[in-house]
Amino acid sequence: MDIFLNVLLGGLSAVGFSLITNAPRRAAGIIGITGALSWTVFYILKNYSHMNILIANYVGAFIIGILAYYFARMYHLPENIIVIPCLVNLVPGGNAYRTILYMVQSNYNGSINQGLQTFLIASFIAIGLFTTPYFAASINRIKMIREKRNRTN
């Protein structure tokens, strides 16, 4: 039941942000599926396993990256249209909020702590997002070189 609620709300939230940014209507289903999957995996990793939160964010962003790469080529959409609405769920809003909250409460140690955590999470999301395009580009390059060698032989 818990997981079902997560799938539902993760998808709805991604579609909701796609409405705000006026994404094309034909992309709504794709965005919903990508958002639901990435959010659910992120949630399971964060709340049910004792992994570092950075790993959970990395895996969530990685799933967004790989699905966006696949769907963008399948449906001829720009990758950005799929990535932007799905990524909003993973944004470390809680940490950013606590950075400001502790600053207001004059708890500067806590504020710097949370600020660094926000920065780290954002960096790991970026790394996760770029894993798939990087490896895909490398594999394509290897294929191209091999083909060229075959042709010359």
Binding site: L5, N6, L9, G10, L12, S13, V15, G16, F17, S18, L19, I20, T21, N22, A23, P24, A27, W39, Y43, K46, N47, H76, L77, P78, N80, I81, V83, I84, P85, L87, V88, N89, V91, G93, G94, A96, Y97, T99, I100, L101, M103, V104, A122, A126, L129, F130
Partner: protein, 259 residues
């Protein structure tokens, strides 16, 4: 006048002046729709290639430069901000059709002119956008494992925050003030809900409700451009998203300090 010039030239061939205008308009629309700069450059150069000219394009966030066939240069001023993913998709689809010759240069030009004139594509009505904002603000509640009635409060507070930001950004030219006020009112509503006794703590409500205001497009584009080594536009977008985030944050902070 336009009819005569297009009739004289063979099909799929625009004059140099028309082509440079077309490229500038396309790039302007893409930048205003929220595309990454390297994608804008790539798309425009590809359009030039499929129309049989050598086009070079350089895009920063505030200006677009175009060179056609190594001799005529043009530039146009652009502006930061605005998001319209539909626009990007439409232009992307059209340039793809242009490349495989299922769309003529004339038809493409007419479409771009139309888009440039009205600066808008099909858009969702505001009520649907607001409901979308409500759903966006519900997702963080799951993470903190809140009881179910928190979801409902957060849904409405998120809608109110987004509505305020949306209306104020339409009314005023000052860019970050609407976000400051929206953040202030969200925090105010959270504190009010606690004072009335409907909820036990307001932090999660605030975290959820600011989610629709997060500069998602700017952050994503900044990261992607930085990785593609378009450092200039990336830094501009990064600074913009940082300013947006901190204006929301200071809005919340002032509400927390006052009440």
């Amino acid at each position: 006048m336009k009819e005569i010039t297009t009739n004289k030239l063979p099909e799929n061939k625009l004059s140099e002046h028309e082509l440079s205008d077309l490229c500038l308009k396309t790039a302007y629309l893409l930048v205003n729709g929220g595309a990454e700069t390297y994608r804008v450059e790539d798309t425009v150069e590809r359009i030039g290639a499929s129309l049989g000219s050598d086009v070079k394009c350089y895009v920063t966030v505030t200006a677009i430069f175009i060179e056609i066939n190594h001799k005529s240069y043009k530039f146009i001023k652009a502006r930061l901000g605005g998001t319209n993913l539909q626009m990007i998709d439409e232009i992307n689809t059209m340039s793809r059709q242009l490349a495989v010759k299922t769309m003529t240069a004339d038809g493409f030009k007419r479409h771009i002119d139309h888009l440039y004139k009205y600066k808008r594509t099909s858009d969702f009505p505001f009520t649907i956008k607001a409901i979308g904002a409500g759903f966006v603000s519900m997702a963080p509640m799951l993470l903190f494992e809140m009881p179910l009635y928190y979801f409902i409060y957060c849904f409405f507070v998120g809608i109110i925050g987004y509505t305020i930001s949306y209306t104020l950004s339409k009314l005023s030219m000052l860019p970050y003030a609407d976000l400051f006020i929206a953040g202030f009112i969200i925090a105010l509503l959270g504190i009010l809900l606690k004072r009335v006794g409907l909820i036990t703590q307001y932090h999660t409500i605030i975290i959820g409700a600011i989610m629709p205001l997060v500069p998602g497009v700017a952050i994503t584009n900044a990261i992607r451009e930085l990785v593609m080594r378009h450092a200039l536009s990336s830094m501009v977008k990064f600074l913009d998203s940082l300013l947006v985030a901190s204006s929301i944050g200071f809005g919340i902070a002032s509400a927390l300090i006052i009440f």
